[in-house]
Amino acid sequence: MAGTDSRGRVERRSAGELESEVLASLWATERPLTPAEIQAEIGGGLAYNTVHTILKRLYDKGLVLRDADGRRGAYRPAKNAAELTAEAMHEALDRGPDPIAALQQFVSGLSPEEERALRDLLGRGGL
């Protein structure tokens, strides 16, 4: 899928949106990524320099770290704030239906039949 978007579509994404995408791609994988790998992952004709600029901004904010012992130029996500947030989130979830359930979550649960139906759809590429 990646890379099929037109260049125009990428240019319409704001700096803030691209920042989210780069950060998300670092969190989505277990291993540190180089700017070139992030560029390939995000696709959509994103320029290497743009990826580099965004990484630098994320680094300045303390959201990503340079991988010291790994490959040169690779980045990984900083975990401290994310772990605190996870703790606060679990605490809120454990407290009962409120307050997180009151939010518009991206998706809620499935029945076993629904799960089977969705798996079929994804599996045969019918979507």
Binding site: Q104, Q105, L110, E115, L118
Partner: protein, 297 residues
Amino acid sequence: MRFDVYTPLLLSLLLPVISPAIGRRVAPALAARVLTSAAVLTAAATTWSLVLLATALLGDAPPVVREARENGRPLADPVPEVIGIAAGVALAVVMWRVHRAVRAERGTRRALRRLCAGHPADTELIVAASPVPQAFAIPGSPGRILVTSAMLSALEPPERRVLFAHERAHLTHRHGILVTAATLAAAANPLLGPVRAAVTFLVERWADEQAADSVGDRGTTARALARAALTAGRARPACALNFTDRAVTRRIAALQTPPPPRLWSAAAAVLALGTLPALLAVDATGDLFGLLGSVLA
């Protein structure tokens, strides 16, 4: 008065009946807005009707009744005493329910603010390092998007773009305010519960349509929803939660058909249905004050 004061209560039975059909046939952005407006107007009208009925008890107060006789005009009791008392009790319940709903909303906001702690203010994405797949929008200025690491690693890059576009739509169009308004309306008038449910579902559909627009592909949008739902389903036993309202499958099915039209006529009908109780309540107010005025003068 006798008629107008009860009609808002009767009309509020109609809105929940039509809201599922409106939700299916009308473009979600339009449907969510008109249903919320109608629900708020109706809830205000029914609450006010209860106030009027309870106030009408004043007409039964001994001095008022005596005066009514002294004037030589036998006063037809506008509201039977038992209804006036019932209205007073119902009003107390309404107040308690609204109070509880407001407190829950405040609790949610407080919990959300805590989730943002430690993250730079000018960053849209807040990642929670958690094995629980979760994603939701955090309203505010600026609004944030919280996604757990488990959710991020479950989705392909184009699907993550769908997720972000979906949550951004919630923030841009202030869906939190719509849902809060519908929630308070349903707290004030429990008959409006189904309308609240319809609005909650419609803001999701609305965000899905926006996401499909911004990634330019309904198929990818549907796939992102399916994968996120499957990931979330795996993480928690389906039987332990009563979340299975078929919401996700309905959203995915809706993405596999063309977007529904903006049916202005249906929207106007919903708004009219919401406005009517309000007008009747205003009319009943005039009647009541006229009546009390003529008695007390």
